[in-house]
């Protein structure tokens, strides 16, 4: 019997062991593990797409005693995005890291990957805690891999904040177990009822996740940590790791705490999101370094995702709500592809120029057409211009906001969009100067193509062919 659910988590673990044991072959073994992991994860998504919700009772005990893995449309969508991005990051890393760094990068990277897949597939609140910790530790370790002062200091802070977040989450889980005596998400959802216990547990768990998702004003740790990591790591951190925390918050919101939600909490999340949009975009505009700009842009983009909560809360169940949810997921996925592509391309520009000060990037940007195009395509998706997935998602969200009469979210999102246009074009304008004409479009296929492909997916793939996402989300995520 082959069950793709545990495979998606264990294959990278075995890969991590293999590259730990033979660091000299880290790149080859790591890429092999990456390909196998992607295959298993995508087969999960494909099976959910065709057959519906997938579930695996690990250990054969079944709930409530055992732990289950479960893939519904929501998990399958995030899983597919994360694994595609992770594959691109892996290919890129194969060309980016020299031998000495590669031996440190690969095992940690595969552990992080395993944590991501585990998190998207987990159906048990405590198991989610373990995946969160694995994610947090491997992410911080990867971020500090260069060993420079800035990187280590920033990632130490990230590690500590992450620990605080997990602790808060675990406290919530303890409370849930104390009150309801189960840990499986489905069983908790059945048992939960409005009241102070559910309230406190929700505050603790989602509060902890907000810390990890870097929602304003808990974003302070993100920009230095993401800006100082090596490019492939920044890509993974910004595109996937914070996204995983958001996924979990959304999952808890939709599946666990659905009976106890109220608009005040949703509005609070939305207001924080709005503040993140404005503040993050503004700081990105003022940033002097390319990667810092990208990191602040992540703060802003996470804000958009949290604006979804008040909209979801105000929309009665039905087609409109399903539509809105799909748009939010589309926004998250598009940002995953776009931000990863942005960071990967920025890494190439940085490598060529020897620095990433935006004002002095002209020559490097013009010498690397493929990387600059990748930044442009990713930028289009970050701004939310058509034909990107972001545009589509924002359209649906804004239309729903207008239907509900909540026009202020539209104002916030448009302000964010314009600021994003300003900071993205501030970068792109560097590509137009009087430096010599580049000889060819692609200079280093191994690093430039992954970035370009991610940008293309964000801007064309998800913008024009997003319809399947709606179909996928019908599997369990709606309703």
């Amino acid at each position: 019997m082959i069950d793709a659910l545990p495979l998606a988590v264990t294959l990278p673990l075995i890969g991590a062991f293999a590259v730990t044991v033979s660091p000299l072959h880290a790149r080859g073994l790591g890429l092999m593990a990456a390909v196998l992991t992607v295959a298993s994860a995508l087969s999960v998504t494909a099976t959910v797409w065709s057959d519906g919700v997938l579930r695996a009772d690990l250990g054969g005990w079944g709930v409530p005693l055992g732990i289950a893995l479960e893939a519904d449309g929501l998990s399958a969508a995030f899983l597919a995005m994360a694994n595609t991005v992770a594959l691109a990051v892996s290919v890129y890393a194969g060309g980016y890291f020299k031998q000495e760094s590669a031996r440190h990068f690969w095992p940690l990277w595969l552990l992080l990957w395993s944590a991501l897949n585990g998190l998207f597939l987990a159906a048990d609140l405590f198991n989610l805690y373990v995946t969160l910790e694995l994610l947090g530790l491997s992410a911080a370790a990867l971020g500090a891999i260069t060993g420079t002062r800035e990187a280590v200091a920033a990632n130490l802070r990230y590690l500590l904040v992450g620990l605080l977040g997990s602790m808060s989450y675990l406290l919530g889980v303890s409370l849930v177990y104390a009150a309801y005596g189960v840990l499986d998400i489905g069983l908790v959802a059945e048992a939960i009822e409005p009241g102070p216990i559910a309230w406190t547990a929700m505050t603790l768990m989602i509060g902890g996740l907000i810390l990890k998702a870097a929602l304003f004003p808990m974003h302070f740790w993100l920009p230095p940590a993401h800006a100082n990591a090596p490019a492939p790591v920044s890509a993974a951190l910004s595109a996937l790791v914070v996204k995983a925390a958001f996924y979990l918050a959304l999952r808890l919101w939709l599946d666990v705490f659905a009976p106890v939600l109220n608009e005040a909490a949703a509005n609070l999340l939305g207001i924080l999101g709005a503040a993140a949009v404005v503040w993050g975009s503004w700081r990105a505009l003022r940033a002097e370094r390319l990667k810092l700009l990208a990191a602040y842009s992540t703060v802003a983009q996470m804000g958009y995702l949290f604006i979804a909560f008040p909209l979801l809360a105000a929309t009665p169940p039905g087609l409109a709500r399903d539509n809105l949810l799909a748009a939010v997921v589309l926004l998250a996925l598009t940002h995953g592809f776009a931000k990863a592509g942005f960071f990967l391309a920025a890494g190439m520009v940085q490598k060529t120029a020897g620095h990433d000060r935006i004002d002095d990037l002209g020559g490097a940007a013009q010498a690397l057409p493929a990387a600059t195009f990748a930044i442009g395509l990713a930028g289009v998706a970050l701004i939310g211009l058509p034909p990107s997935g972001t545009f589509l998602a924002k359209w649906v969200m804004l239309e729903q906001a207008m239907i509900l009469g909540l026009w202020w979210w539209l104002v916030v999102m448009m302000v964010g969009t314009l600021l994003a246009a300003a900071y993205i074009f501030r970068v792109l304008s560097r590509a137009f100067n009087r430096e010599p004409t580049p000889y060819r479009f692609v200079n280093d296929a191994r690093t430039e193509l992954p970035a370009l492909l991610l940008g293309l997916i964000a801007t064309f793939g998800l913008g024009i062919a997003a319809q399947p996402l709606w179909v996928l989300l019908e599997q369990g995520a709606f309703g």
């Binding site: 239907i403 137009f432 000889y439 692609v442 024009i464």
Partner: protein
């Protein structure tokens, strides 16, 4: 999917795909790039001719692609869209030839022609948009694709011009987006329908709908360079001449004007717009723009800037036509979409040629250029006379119908605007013609280039203005013949007014 559905998509893709391929080419692959460019342009032209025939016979071309539930990408062809498609396809072909000649030996040609092709794809997409969502999508893509062209030269001036251009058009795009979303939230998906879709809208939405009209108008007005949203156009003059041609005649300002026509006729419906005073507001705005643009043109010594302000003024004739209630004025406005394009592109090509051969950039340097560059100057003269409205050049036809329409609708003040603007047009164009033909040439031109084997300029730069001037002339001379812009505009007006 049947071929009928594929045709609009194929017209968009016929320039999109070559554009994408061109990006990947090495800089020296000159022949391959030219081949791709010309193949795309000719294939597109062929497809458009096919489509014109079909639409004339009442054939329905529609491609529909669902992006998300309730959000469809619709490309469809009606008479109005075919008019714009035909214009931009024809002018793109000519401009491509011109650009290949103009940019010979200059750097970054792959990037330039790639965006150039995407730019025209976006324009065609705008023309063929079957609903407001599709229109917004292509409208924004057009902004994206023109930015690199404006910034192309990489000089500080170009960077500044591009920044201003971007600030204006992004702001306009945002407003358009807000309006479109707001409208869709109120009335559902907005499909472009002859006669408009709001005639049946409930009374209590009226105030909101009027507000939305102005939001949309502001969004479109940026590209259409309506005063006070025109500021980017003179700044964008730093771009290479083919780009100016593109901005002023083929794509950008046209997209704005076309959008205004679409919103008035096919979204709001001319009856609704008239009944709620929207037409009057638009008419006043257009008139102010016409007069202001002409006055500003009068004060410019830079040739390209003078032409730019002239565009500000002339494009608003289109909006003016839409703002007068009645089919005759509609004909005048719609036909001006084509006529202004033909005349203005001629003028910009000529301006580019003067700069290229003689280094002449200013009106005050133009003494005697007629002798030195007779064919170019002849084309320029045709264009300028057309702008003034001298028969039999195309511009006269537009103004004549606008005037008739205004008289028909009883809006005599519009006639006054037309007369005033024609006088101003004459005031800023005739001196140029006088200098060109009747003043002696200086001993030395500002910066003269000799073209081997040619007295005036290379063929790729000379033929385009001559051809477009000839077209502008014949559009006026043979206005009554079948398949002319005028006849087509009449068809559009009849369909919009349901006669």
């Amino acid at each position: 999917m049947s071929f009928d559905a594929w045709l609009p998509a194929a017209i968009v893709l016929s320039s999109m795909i070559p554009g994408m391929l061109i990006f990947l080419l090495r800089e020296e692959s000159h022949r391959l790039r030219t081949l791709l460019n010309m193949t795309g342009a000719l294939v597109k032209l062929g497809l458009v001719i096919w489509m014109i025939g079909g639409v004339y016979d009442g054939h329905l071309y529609e491609a529909r692609w669902t992006l998300a539930p309730g959000l469809d990408l619709v490309l469809s062809a009606d008479a109005l869209s075919v008019l714009f498609v035909a214009l931009s396809t024809l002018l793109w072909l000519v401009t491509t030839v011109y650009a290949i000649g103009y940019l010979e030996h200059s750097p970054n040609r792959s990037r330039f022609f790639g965006f150039f092709s995407i730019c025209v794809s976006a324009t065609v997409g705008i023309a063929l948009s079957g609903n407001l969502l599709t229109f917004v999508i292509f409208y924004e893509i057009l902004t994206l694709a023109t930015y690199p062209l404006v910034a192309h030269r990489g000089t500080p001036d170009a960077a500044h011009g591009a920044k201003v251009y971007l600030a204006y058009t992004m702001g306009g795009g945002a407003l358009l987006l807000v309006g479109a979303i707001w409208l869709q939230a109120l009335v559902g998906p907005v499909e472009f329908t002859q006669g408009g879709i709001l005639s049946v809208s409930p009374e209590e939405l009226r105030v909101e709908l009027i507000l939305i009209f102005f939001v949309l108008l502001a969004g479109l007005g940026v590209k259409a360079a309506l005063v006070p949203l025109h500021g980017w156009l003179p700044q964008a003059m730093v771009a290479p001449a083919p780009v100016s041609a593109l901005l002023h005649a083929v794509a950008v300002v046209k997209a704005g004007a076309f959008g205004i026509v679409r919103v008035v006729y096919d979204v709001y419906g001319v009856e609704f717009a008239y009944a709620n005073g929207l037409l009057l507001a638009l008419g006043i705005l257009a008139s102010v723009t016409i007069i202001y643009g002409s006055l500003m043109a009068l004060t410019q010594d830079s040739l390209k800037k003078r032409l730019a302000y002239s565009t500000v003024s002339q494009v608003s004739y289109i909006a003016l036509g839409a703002s007068i209630f009645g089919p005759i004025a509609t004909i005048g406005g719609v036909v001006h979409l084509v006529h202004q394009g033909l005349m203005k592109i001629t003028l910009f090509f000529c301006a580019g040629n003067y700069a290229e051969t003689l280094g002449v950039h200013k009106v005050s340097e133009m003494d005697g250029v007629g002798r030195r560059m007779p064919w170019t100057s002849l084309a320029f003269t045709v264009g300028a006379l057309g702008m003034i409205g001298v028969p039999p050049v195309a511009g006269f036809v537009s103004k004549w119908y606008l005037g008739l329409g205004a008289a028909d609708a009883g809006s005599n003040w519009v006639i006054a605007v037309l007369v005033a603007s024609s006088l101003l047009n004459a005031a800023y164009f005739l001196p140029i013609l006088h200098r060109a033909w009747f003043r002696p040439a200086p001993k030395q031109w500002p910066q003269e280039h000799r073209h081997p084997g040619r007295f005036e300029i290379a063929g790729a730069l000379l033929w385009p203005p001559v051809i477009t001037a000839a077209l502008a002339l014949s559009a006026g001379l043979f206005a009554a013949a079948p398949f002319t812009p005028l006849e087509w505009a009449t068809l559009i007006a009849e369909r919009e007014y349901g006669r």
